[in-house]
């Protein structure tokens, strides 16, 4: 049965059919009235002989074939009309879908751009990163020594090209402007041959530019060329300056060229951010290096090696070959420098994409599954709501079926409704995704590799379309299938209330609830784990105090402050100025930003017991007052004082002191650092001052006069807020050195929050997903129970008339939701245990199975479920037996 006449496309054909059938009916009526019937009876008899006119037309139209499209359009129009009649449902469904599809599309875009899409280099599957694992450093994979890479280059046959590179930050001057810091990559000339990248303008490096002593030339990236030279094609041959050295610009790279930042492709691979890492390189500089001048066994963790495998060479073959060469290198090293035991210098080869994406993989898949889980829950809710609507409309459907509507059409109607919803929601969702990705790219709170490559593309569009279809099928087909089993006669004969309540349909809806509960519990449990992990990170014993401390970062230009003495004087003067500011209790300086990762690492050896394997220790050059400002604990000996100036004294962290001296007292002991001898004057408590996410590193602290840094971090302990104090702090620095760059003045507390940006982002995303899922599940439970109560009103009335108490009616209603909720909870738990194992790497201080989290989530869920079930239960309990029985 088709309600309404479809818009006839070729009008003549439709009119033609009308005319044909009308002629037939008229002729038949005439003949019937000739046999003595009244005109009225004759018309009726003609119709009876003819059968269902509309159905006939419908069948003829189907014969024509083009009507499929018409039917589709008509169904959509019908769906639109029926949705307009329930704007509340339509709006809720639309919003759910728009948000759901928007979120999944956005997340999938990121997953696709970062994880799935191959790197934007020719034949990028053959690009590999190579790492060395020297036993000296405890076998950790780290950026290789260029001297070794040079030997690989000469002896290995597995690679068609092999190069190395280093991320750096340099101070650049174009024309007469102020110098600016720019992230760059320095490498031998063959980098672009390995990457197989052609320049947009000019040329790439030529071999002579790798000869030691050759002036280094630069190649600009497209964004840098655009922003500094406004896309001027005449830029080739111009120069830029670093300090007072000029570099000729020889080429410009194409706009689709992306190169990983120093954080993405870390030479030193332990936790925390890399130095000079965060931003994508703006230009490439040729490095003329004499690798034979480099140490034999050192210089690890500064450079990254890239190779291109020859076709047909497997990674394992390449790795085996490099390891053979490594053993040769070990044998060839001068006796004084290396550990000659075989295996003391291993190497590993890794696909470049894996090296870049690395740790982000798990978090992205987690995000992806969380968003798909939420989507699934939303779909189930939609299906449940549709099912409810379907039941309420089952009388309407029964009438339509009785009037001759084919069941297939009724089903299709219901699917069309969802297709329309999903289509509108999908379009809105894709727009939303595009918009939010734009925001994400610009203000990303997390450090993601390949972020600049993230944009909506065809794969994503295909994903969204698949998602839309899946959604409409899932949420449309379930209720529709339910319709198929409706017996129109039964539905028509029964009262409305009873027709709603077939046992079968309520069971289906309860199972949907169970599924939803499972998804929601799993999501909540994972959220719980992340929240607990974040709380742990924030609350754990850091070993130092961030409250009421302000940090100011000041950079000195290498040219102006070339001598150590000039930098010592700068620090001395600024510290004195800072201490003179009213309200400042302590002022100190340190050579690295707290909680910003590793900066300077060096092995430390006991002079009386040298060992071959010495892990790299984190170094900090500090002023007196540093430990007082950060309130670090003194374990033995003393802190730095003014008298330590120019003395080779060192303070060790408790962990390092134990590692070197065990239970003996290290005070007065001597250690060798970079070939120099230092005396241990104190031991301080372990602290997590590189990162909150790693165990406290072993540390060595040296007086700043020993190696005054170019970048000083002044720590100021004062009760005054940073906004009041900041001008005074800047003044204190500029009064002595007007040419110093003040990169930031902020509280140490905000640095702490910034350092956990990724975790806070993950947790807040999961929290919002979890809250949404909980809300949806509650709505689902509420909906199912409400319908069930309406359905069973008579039954409840009879029970009450027979003596059932109000509390037993409560129990009856709650019991109905009980089974799916409990089963769902159990399934969700099981799923989360599985997921927990996969995400263990992302958790800090929490095990995947955490009793507190499980108990909290279960309690939260049960309370929410009870709350959702309460209203329907109360409605059931307040059924008046007399009224319902009378209505019987």
């Amino acid at each position: 049965m088709r309600w309404g006449i479809p818009k006839p496309r070729p009008k003549s054909r439709e009119a033609d059919l009308d005319r044909e059938l009308r002629a037939h009916l008229e002729l038949e009526a005439e003949q019937q009235s000739d046999s003595g019937l009244t005109p009225e009876e004759a018309r009726y008899a003609a119709r009876r002989a003819f059968g269902n006119v509309t159905l006939t037309k419908e069948e003829v139209r189907q014969m024509w074939g083009w009507t499929r499209w018409d039917i589709f359009i008509q169904d959509l129009r019908y769906a639109l009309r029926s949705l307009r009649k329930s704007p509340g449902f339509a709006m809720a469904a639309f919003l759910t879908l728009a948000l759901g599809i928007g979120a999944s599309t956005a997340v999938f875009t990121i997953v696709d751009s970062v994880l799935l899409r191959p790197l934007a280099y020719r034949d990028s599957g053959r690009l590999v990163a190579l790492w060395e694992r020297p036993r000296m450093l405890g076998g950790e994979a780290t950026g290789p020594n260029p001297r070794h890479v040079d030997i690989w280059q000469k002896r290995a046959t597995a690679f068609s090209g092999l190069t190395f590179l280093r991320h750096m930050a340099i101070s650049l001057t174009v024309s007469t402007e102020h110098p600016q810091m720019a992230p760059i990559v320095a490498s031998p000339p063959n980098l672009f041959d390995v990457l197989q990248v052609q320049p947009l303008l000019g040329r790439t490096f030529i071999p002579e530019e790798g000869v030691p002593g050759h002036a280094s030339v630069v190649i600009l990236t497209y964004p840098f060329w655009q922003s500094l030279f406004h896309g001027d094609p005449g830029v080739i041959g111009k120069t830029i300056r670093t300090g007072n050295v000029s570099h000729e610009i020889v080429g410009v790279l194409p706009s689709d060229f992306h190169f990983p930042s120093g954080t993405t492709l870390r030479a030193f691979r332990r936790g925390g951010k890399a130095l000079n890492g965060g931003l994508d390189p703006l230009l490439f500089m040729s490095a003329g290096l004499d690798v034979t001048q480099m140490e034999w066994n050192g210089n690890y963790g500064n450079w990254v090696a890239l190779g291109r495998l020859k076709p047909g060479v497997a990674i394992s073959q390449a790795a085996a070959q490099v390891n053979v060469i490594q053993n040769q290198i070990v044998q060839e090293m001068p006796a004084s420098e290396g550990d000659h035991r075989p295996g003391s210098l291993l190497a590993s080869v890794q696909p470049l994409q894996e090296a870049m994406v690395g740790d982000s993989r798990t978090e992205l898949w987690l995000l992806m599954s969380a968003v798909l889980g939420l989507m699934l829950i939303a779909c189930l809710n939609l299906a449940n709501a549709q099912l409810g609507r379907g039941m309420a409309r089952s009388r309407e459907f029964a009438v339509r079926a009785a009037l001759g509507a084919a069941k297939g059409w009724l089903v299709w109607n219901s699917v069309a409704e969802n297709l329309l919803l999903a289509g509108c929601g999908g379009v809105a969702g894709v727009l939303l995704a595009g918009f939010s990705l734009d925001l994400f790219r610009r203000y990303s709170p997390v450090d993601l590799p390949r972020l600049s490559e993230v944009h909506l593309n065809l794969a994503v569009l295909a994903f969204s379309i698949a998602l839309i279809l899946a959604v409409s099928l899932l949420s449309g087909l379930l209720p529709a299938l339910r319709l198929l089993s409706t017996d129109p006669q039964a539905a028509l004969q029964q009262s409305t209330a009873r027709a709603l309540g077939s046992r079968h349909s309520n069971r289906l809806r309860r199972w949907l609830i169970g599924l939803q509960v499972a998804g929601c519990t799993a999501l909540l449990l994972v959220t719980g784990l992340f929240s607990k992990s974040l709380l742990h990170l924030l609350r754990q014993d850091k070993g130092f105090e961030t409250r009421k401390v302000i940090v100011a970062e000041a950079r000195l230009a290498p040219g102006e402050y070339a001598t150590d003495q000039s930098r010592i004087s700068f620090n001395d003067a600024v510290l004195e100025n800072l201490r003179a500011i009213p309200g400042v209790q302590i002022a100190a300086m340190v050579s690295a930003m707290p909680l910003d990762g590793e900066s300077w690492i060096e092995p430390v050896q006991r002079i009386d017991r040298p060992r071959l394997e010495t892990p790299l220790i984190n170094f900090r050059w500090v002023s007196p007052g540093y430990f007082e400002a950060t309130q670090q604990k003194l374990v033995a000996g003393r802190f730095f004082e003014e008298r330590d100036r120019q003395m080779s004294n060192v303070i060790l962290s408790e962990g390092e002191a134990k590692a070197l001296w065990g239970s003996e007292s290290p005070i007065g002991g001597q250690v060798k650092i970079e070939g120099r001898t230092f005396t241990v004057i104190g031991v301080v408590g372990d602290s997590r001052n590189t990162s909150l996410k790693t165990p406290p590193p072993r540390m060595a602290y040296v007086h700043y006069t020993d190696r005054p840094p170019y970048t000083s971090f002044f720590l100021i302990r004062a009760p005054t807020p940073v906004s009041t104090l900041a001008p005074g702090i800047r003044q204190a620095i500029w009064k002595y050195a007007p040419d110093a760059t003040i990169a930031r003045v902020q509280t140490l507390d905000s640095q702490l929050t910034d350092s956990l940006a990724t975790e806070r982002f993950q947790t807040s995303v999961l929290l919002s997903f979890g809250a949404a899922a909980l809300l949806l599940a509650m709505l689902g439970i509420y909906g199912v129970l409400s319908y069930s109560v309406i359905t069973r009103k008579q039954e409840i009335g009879v029970r009450m008339a027979l003596g059932a108490t109000r509390s037993s009616i409560y129990a009856l209603t709650f019991g109905e939701a009980g089974t799916p909720v409990v089963v769902g909870l159990a399934a969700g738990l099981a799923a989360s245990l599985l997921a927990g194992r996969l995400i263990q790497k992302l958790l800090y201080g929490v095990q995947a199975v955490d009793a507190t989290v499980i108990l909290t989530v279960t309690a939260l869920f049960l309370i929410s479920a009870t709350a959702a079930a309460f209203l329907p239960a109360r409605r059931a309990a307040s059924v008046d037996p007399m009224t319902t029985l009378r209505a019987e």
Binding site: D16, L17, R19, E20, L21, A23, H24, L27, E28, R48, A49, F50, G51, N52, V53, L55, T56, E59, V60, Q62, M63, W64, G65
Partner: protein
């Protein structure tokens, strides 16, 4: 349909096309004429809803076995009917259907009324 005579026979699937083609072999006719012809010839034995004729007619036309044209009815020039006419392809199709039908009835008959082997 209430009160249908119970001795009417439901048309076998697929035979309607053949009956239409055969009817049109006698000359062009419109839908009503075809329906009446089938009913009259079989003494109202075959139960055909007139409506069911039209999807079949349009299908046959689409397949190229029939051609249709609006023409005035013989006696009444003011009134036009859509007349269907058998095409050459339609004639061929009729032959094919006829021989299929003959084979079918023969096969059915052999099972229903077996001839005794002598």
């Amino acid at each position: 349909m209430p009160n249908e005579p119970s001795d009417r026979i439901q048309l076998l699937q697929g035979t309607l096309d053949m009956l239409i083609l055969r009817t049109l072999l006698l000359g062009p006719a419109h839908g009503h004429q075809i329906a009446k012809h089938i009913q009259r010839t079989t003494d109202d034995l075959l139960q055909i809803e007139h409506g069911s004729l039209y999807p079949a007619l349009h299908r046959l036309e689409r397949k190229g076995w029939l051609a249709a044209k609006w023409e005035p009815a013989g006696k009444d020039l003011k009134r036009e009917f859509k007349y269907y006419r058998l095409t050459a392809a339609g004639k061929k199709q009729l032959l094919a259907e006829e021989s299929k039908w003959k084979k079918l009835t023969a096969a059915v008959a052999r099972i229903m009324w077996p001839v005794e082997e002598s």
